[in-house]
């Protein structure tokens, strides 16, 4: 079996918040099209890990390579990486002063310099794909949480990212809205997007993930395929975590 060149590779990445060692020697490779679900107890460094990939958090030590570009102080490299990587946040982070449509054309027009007409056409296509095109003229505050998160996904997709990072995308949602967001994410996975998801949705992980990464105290302590991970986790800590999270 030939291994394609990884689209993301992290080598011995360390991150400290003052004295607190948030990421310990993380080495990780993600192949194009691969879907990773990152789970673990809170405070284990899951969010920090994916936020280091697009430099929303700065790692202190080690190399992060995205699609052939080494993350460095160079703003050109940083911009290239951020254009390759799309991100969806727990709190949606839509721009409340702009309509849904303007939220989705912002990157195209202001970062890529496209015309309004061209940007709106693409934005509407993507809003249609997340089934929310009829709300395009509304402001984010007028939508439900689930709708907002779908807009946020569409907004990230407007930039044609090769990798999508999801930082607990359903954790701020009411239960009845979780599935509409997960549906969109599953479709995205079926289309072959490379995805890194921090999530507690184990059903989603089982169904969609190629690999599950289990983190604790800043280290990756298990990387496994979903079936083995759920049926027969290698570490006691993962076993305990699964027991706690699957009890309900």
């Amino acid at each position: 079996m030939t291994n394609p060149a990884p689209i993301i590779s992290m080598t011995a990445v360390n991150k400290w918040y003052g004295e607190y060692h948030a990421l310990r020697d993380i080495s990780l490779e993600v192949a194009p099209g691969e879907k990773l679900v990152i789970c673990g107890p809170s405070g284990s460094g899951k969010s920090t890990l994916i936020r280091c990939i697009n430099n929303l958090e700065q790692h202190n030590d080690g190399d992060i390579n995205v699609d052939g570009v080494l993350l460095s102080e160079d703003l050109k490299d940083l911009e290239a990486i951020r254009l390759t990587v799309g991100m969806v946040f727990q709190q949606f982070n839509l721009f409340p002063h702009m309509t849904v449509l303007d939220n989705c054309t912002f990157g195209l027009r202001r970062v890529l310099g496209q015309s309004r007409a061209k940007a709106e056409k693409k934005a509407l296509d993507l809003l249609d794909r997340v089934q929310i095109a009829n709300q395009a003229q509304k402001f984010p505050g007028q939508l439900s949480g689930g709708q907002q998160q779908r807009v946020a996904i569409a907004r990230a997709l407007t930039m044609d990212p090769k990798v999508m990072l999801f930082d607990e995308p359903t954790s701020a949602l009411d239960p009845e809205m979780i599935s509409e967001v997960l549906e969109v994410m599953k479709e995205l996975a079926n289309d072959g997007m490379t995805m890194l998801c921090v999530t507690h949705e184990m059903g989603f992980a089982r169904e969609v993930a190629d690999q599950i990464i289990f983190m604790e105290e800043g280290s990756v302590i298990e990387r496994n395929d979903p079936i083995s991970f759920f049926e027969n986790p290698r570490t006691d800590r993962a076993k305990k975590f699964l027991n706690q999270i699957l009890q309900h």
Partner: protein, 368 residues
């Protein structure tokens, strides 16, 4: 009923019914708002009596017994307002000592200022156009009133009256906002040098009275400048007003920026957007919206502070009016003059406040 039958219906006269209805709704409104219970009825009656007692003599003094025309002081009466000097010196109040044959320049300047209002109040106007107008207005006013190019250059000494108030107020308002944005951002900068310069600047300026700066700018600066070098006096005064006011606005904006969720920056950065574009398109629009009430407060304060320049010898509206009532002939008529000043300032400041309310209504609409 089929449509064609509607036109055959007897036409009933509607007007009386409408009057009845509006009268009924007025009565209802009064019952609800003025006479709801014993306490509010008592207050209504009490306030009504005070108004009845005070308004007729006030109107009598201001209008009915007042003297509007006549020859000199002897035409005035002792127990009513005398508006003769207001009309006689109207041009002085508006244009100050600006040369009469150049007054058209002042008129154009006023017009440019007034034009800002329909621009600001229109909801369909593109924001870039409004911003461009606000950015160019100070330059246009300076070139127009001060001269340059094909316009005769005017010395600062001919600036006075309402025109000077308007000139200082408008330019200071337009230019202090962008300066304050830079100060607010600088104070939160990651670069320690920039941050410390901004902190020291803001703290220093806020701790010293505006009057002190005005005195320093108009009197002391000349001592420190190398011989022969002179900065126009109006320019110095304007710079003081802009930079002092910007320090206060910077703190208003800093609060508003800090109140925004960090996720707003992150979402923009994550799309590859750089710092300045994020500030311009994402952060500042929201920060400015959230600080509208405080900023309008500051704008109104700034406009009223233009009256302080009379202390350093520039006669704006209040100074001009006070000067006129120093003439022996008109001495003792200050009250009429101050009423005119109050009315003028009220109209201008109330308009600014209304613009603030207009902005807030627009923002409210996008929240629901």
């Amino acid at each position: 009923m089929p449509v064609h039958e509607i036109s055959n219906l007897p036409v009933t006269p509607r007007a009386p019914a409408a009057t009845d209805r509006s009268f009924a709704s007025l009565a209802q409104w009064m019952r609800r708002n003025l006479f709801q219970d014993i306490t509010s009825t008592l207050i209504t009656v009490f306030v009504g009596l005070i108004l009845l007692w005070q308004i007729p003599p006030a109107l009598d003094w201001l209008v009915f017994s007042a003297v509007f025309s006549g020859e000199g002081r002897q035409a005035c009466t002792a127990d009513a307002a005398c508006w003769i000097p207001i009309f006689e010196y109207f041009n002085v109040f508006v244009y100050g000592p600006y040369p009469a044959e150049q007054e058209w320049r002042v008129n154009v300047a006023f017009l440019l200022g007034l034009l800002a209002f329909p621009l600001l109040f229109s909801r369909r106007m593109p924001r870039s156009l409004v911003l461009a107008y606000a950015a160019l207005l100070p330059v246009a006013l300076w070139l127009l009133l001060k001269g340059g190019g094909f316009l005769e250059v005017m010395p600062s000494t001919v600036f006075g009256g309402l025109m000077l108030t308007f000139f200082l107020g408008t330019i200071a308002m337009c230019l202090s906002l962008p300066v304050s944005v830079l100060l607010a951002l600088g104070r939160q900068s990651k670069l320690p040098i920039i941050r410390w310069i901004c902190v020291i600047y803001i703290e220093f300026v806020r701790a010293v009275p505006l009057l002190t700066f005005l005195f320093m700018a108009s009197l002391m600066l000349q001592i420190f400048l190398p011989g022969g070098m002179e900065i126009d006096r109006l320019l110095r005064i304007l710079a003081v007003m802009i930079f002092v006011s910007a320090a206060y606005k910077a703190e208003i904006l800093r609060g508003a920026i800090q109140a925004l969720p960090k996720g707003q920056f992150e979402a923009s950065y994550a799309m590859g957007c750089g710092y300045w574009k994020t500030i311009f398109f994402i952060i500042m629009p929201q920060a400015l919206r959230n600080s509208v009430p405080a900023l309008i407060n500051n704008f109104i304060g700034l406009f009223k502070e233009t009256t302080l320049v009379m202390i350093v010898g520039l006669l704006e509206l209040v100074g001009t009016i006070r000067a006129v009532f120093q003439y022996l002939e008109w001495i003792g008529l200050d009250v009429e003059g101050l009423i005119v000043v109050s009315f003028t300032f009220f109209v201008i400041c109330f308009s600014i406040a209304q613009y603030g309310a207009h902005l807030e209504r627009g923002i409210e609409a996008s929240r629901h």
